[in-house]
């Protein structure tokens, strides 16, 4: 006898909890967006529509600088992380079992478990030592730190994608006279692309977002958008911050939408 399918929507209070959850998640964001268009300085009293805070943000060279730095850092770090994660995913799913494989999985994913503050402090001490030794204070530290931090995030979707790929596909390619490189070029890589794009976008968003690691690693004049905003908030909160945050939000929406569209057409 097949029982009637259990549906969570039938539980009492389901609707209420759902509504409360969505309100908690999105109401603060909606308020932030709304007040980015406020004419006055207040975050609580509506004084009329205006784009002046966007204008202020665009005219603020500091905001422009940190935004560009954030984007450059996110693209670079996420790109490097995705390349490394792709190799790691191929190594852990395509070469058969090897001793210490479970250990490798754990090591690759461990950064997801380590509290960011611990990573941050560790990097602070490590980077400080290198800075003293070499005298180099460029963006290399931030790139390295962000890359390392992004690898597990990029690795997960790529590995998930590879695991759904039938090994028989590569066997079939070899059977049809493809060399290992040709099999990778024509079969494995094109089928991995959705996973690689997902990994890149996840890494990009993580890098764009992280405050703690940047805060600990950056040298003077290397603020990213999040650390800059944090710094600004310590003084006065103007709707200029709302405007920047709203633009940030719009960017992430664009990325998520692009990702959705790409995986929908390429993911078959």
């Amino acid at each position: 006898m097949a029982k009637a399918r259990f549906s969570i929507t039938q539980l009492p209070g389901f609707g209420l909890i759902a509504i409360v959850t969505f309100v908690m998640l999105y109401l603060p964001i909606i308020i932030l967006v709304v007040f980015s268009f406020n004419e006055g300085v207040s975050q609580s009293r509506w004084e009329g529509f205006s784009l002046q805070w966007y204008q202020a943000a665009f005219n603020n060279t500091q905001v422009r600088d940190v935004s560009l730095r954030s984007l450059w850092l996110a693209v670079t770090a996420s790109g490097l992380a995705t390349a490394l994660a792709t190799l790691a995913a191929l190594g852990t799913t395509r070469v058969g079992r090897f001793p210490g494989q479970t250990m490798i999985y754990a090591l690759i994913n461990q950064p997801l478990m380590v509290p960011e503050i611990v990573t941050g402090i560790a990097l602070l001490i490590f980077v400080a030592a290198i800075k003293v030794q070499t005298g180099y204070t460029g963006m290399g530290y931030l790139v390295a730190a962000h890359t390392a931090f992004c690898i597990p995030f990029a690795y997960l979707p790529i590995r998930a994608r590879l695991e759904t790929l039938d090994h028989a596909l590569e066997a079939a390619a070899a059977d049809l006279y493809a060399s290992p490189i040709q099999a990778f070029r024509y079969i494995t890589l094109p089928l991995m692309i959705p996973g690689i794009l997902a990994g890149f976008m996840l890494g990009f968003v993580i890098s764009l977002d992280t405050v703690v690691i940047t805060e600990f690693v950056k040298s003077a004049g290397q603020d990213t958008l999040p650390t800059y905003m944090l710094g600004q908030l310590r003084r006065t909160v103007t709707p200029e911050m709302n405007a920047i945050a709203t633009l940030f939000l719009a960017l992430s929406l664009v990325i998520v939408t692009a990702f959705f569209l790409i995986t929908r057409t390429r993911g078959r």
């Binding site: 039938d166 066997a171 390619a173 070899a174 059977d175 049809l176 006279y177 060399s179 040709q182 078959r268």
Partner: protein
């Protein structure tokens, strides 16, 4: 007949030392050019491992594999003139049907015009011209099967390997593909090595069958021989339906055993060359359900009582109890004017000459 594949002294084990698993033991096998050859056995018998070794996906632990007289042991799958139809089809999901079929030729570096011509020819061969631009996800399972066949045939391999290619299809489609495969084989003249666990599929399609169990080839021969003269209990049981009777040897005459049947009558049974049981010994004799005839009660070689009757359309299976309480299944062709006997009815059984056969074990 020229030999396309020659396998000598082939062994394959997985793992090391005491925990090693012997997947294949001392396989010697020759497959003729243009033959439809079937490896038949239950799952785990080693038939797929043997196929993978022929394809080049696995290396034998010992032994030599020759294709067209050339030793290919140690060569990878891309270096052998052999193509495979995979059980899962393994069509490339991001390529159109035409690109799938042309992949092998492209990897061989054939010119574009030749690839195009061959793909068109292959599409026609498997009757898929209308689907050339579809993706594998946009065609049915039976159509994917045809594309997988066309893809493997397109580079004109010397040998086509088929790993249970019909197991994912429903019965009607499977029957259709069986005759389709026979047609493709005779049209292309390529040697087919077909792996299946379905004995009926093996019997209807093959020129020769190798029955495998536990990593060994138990019997090798044309379907008729395998069916009519199984060498041992496993083969007799695995191929078709069989009645096993434990009977006593009364004597040996002209190389045939005279056996005492339940009820006291005698019958002669064919003996395999390898054995000659002593008089008085108990042996296992086999007879196929359709090779005995029902007669009126009191006549024939044995007497029996009907326990149950199962209707199968073309025939009815009568489950009988013999005089000495051994069971016997009789396949009786259905005719409108002769209704099947009801349970409890008594009848006699007579054997077709040569139907009874003694087994080795």
């Amino acid at each position: 007949m020229r030999q396309e594949i020659e396998i000598t002294g082939l062994n394959k084990s997985f793992g090391q030392g005491a925990s090693a698993f012997h997947a294949l033991s001392d396989i010697d096998l020759s497959i003729g050019s243009g033959e439809f050859f079937t490896l038949l056995g239950p799952s785990g018998c080693g038939k797929t491992t043997l196929l993978r070794i022929i394809a080049g996906f696995e290396e034998p632990s010992t032994g030599v594999l020759k294709v067209n007289g050339k030793d290919v042991t140690g060569l990878g799958p891309s270096k052998r003139p052999i193509n495979t139809v995979f059980q899962s089809y393994a069509l490339f999901p991001h390529m159109s049907v035409a690109d799938n079929i042309g992949f092998g030729l492209k990897m061989l570096g054939k010119p574009k015009s030749e690839i195009k011509a061959t793909v068109a020819e292959m599409l026609q061969l498997v009757r898929m011209e209308a689907m050339a631009d579809r993706l594998p996800s946009e065609i049915s399972g039976g159509q994917q099967q045809r594309v997988a066949l066309a893809r493997a045939l397109a580079p004109r391999p010397r040998v086509l390997l088929l790993d249970e290619p019909l197991s994912a299809l429903d019965l009607k489609l499977r029957k259709e593909m069986q005759s389709e495969l026979k047609r493709l084989q005779s049209e292309t003249g390529i040697t087919f090595v077909f792996v299946t666990h379905d004995q009926e599929e093996a019997l209807t399609m093959s020129d020769r069958i190798a029955v495998m169990s536990a990593g060994e080839i138990l019997q090798l021969g044309p379907p008729e021989d395998i069916y009519n003269a199984p060498v041992n209990r496993f083969v007799a049981d695995f191929i078709g339906d069989t009645n096993f009777l434990t009977l006593r040897v009364k004597g040996i005459e002209n190389g045939e055993a005279v056996l005492e049947l339940p009820g006291g009558k005698q019958a002669s049974a064919r003996l395999p060359n390898s054995i000659s049981p002593p008089v008085g010994a108990r042996v296992t004799a086999v007879i196929r359900p359709e090779q005995a005839e029902p007669t009126a009660a009191g006549q024939g070689d044995m007497q029996a009582v009907v326990e149950a009757a199962t209707f199968f359309g073309t025939d009815t299976h009568l489950h009988l109890l013999l005089d000495d309480a051994q069971g016997f299944v009789l396949r009786r062709q259905n005719r409108p004017d002769q209704p099947a006997p009801a349970p409890g009815a008594k009848l006699g059984l007579s054997f077709a000459p040569g139907a009874l056969r003694v087994l080795e074990d």
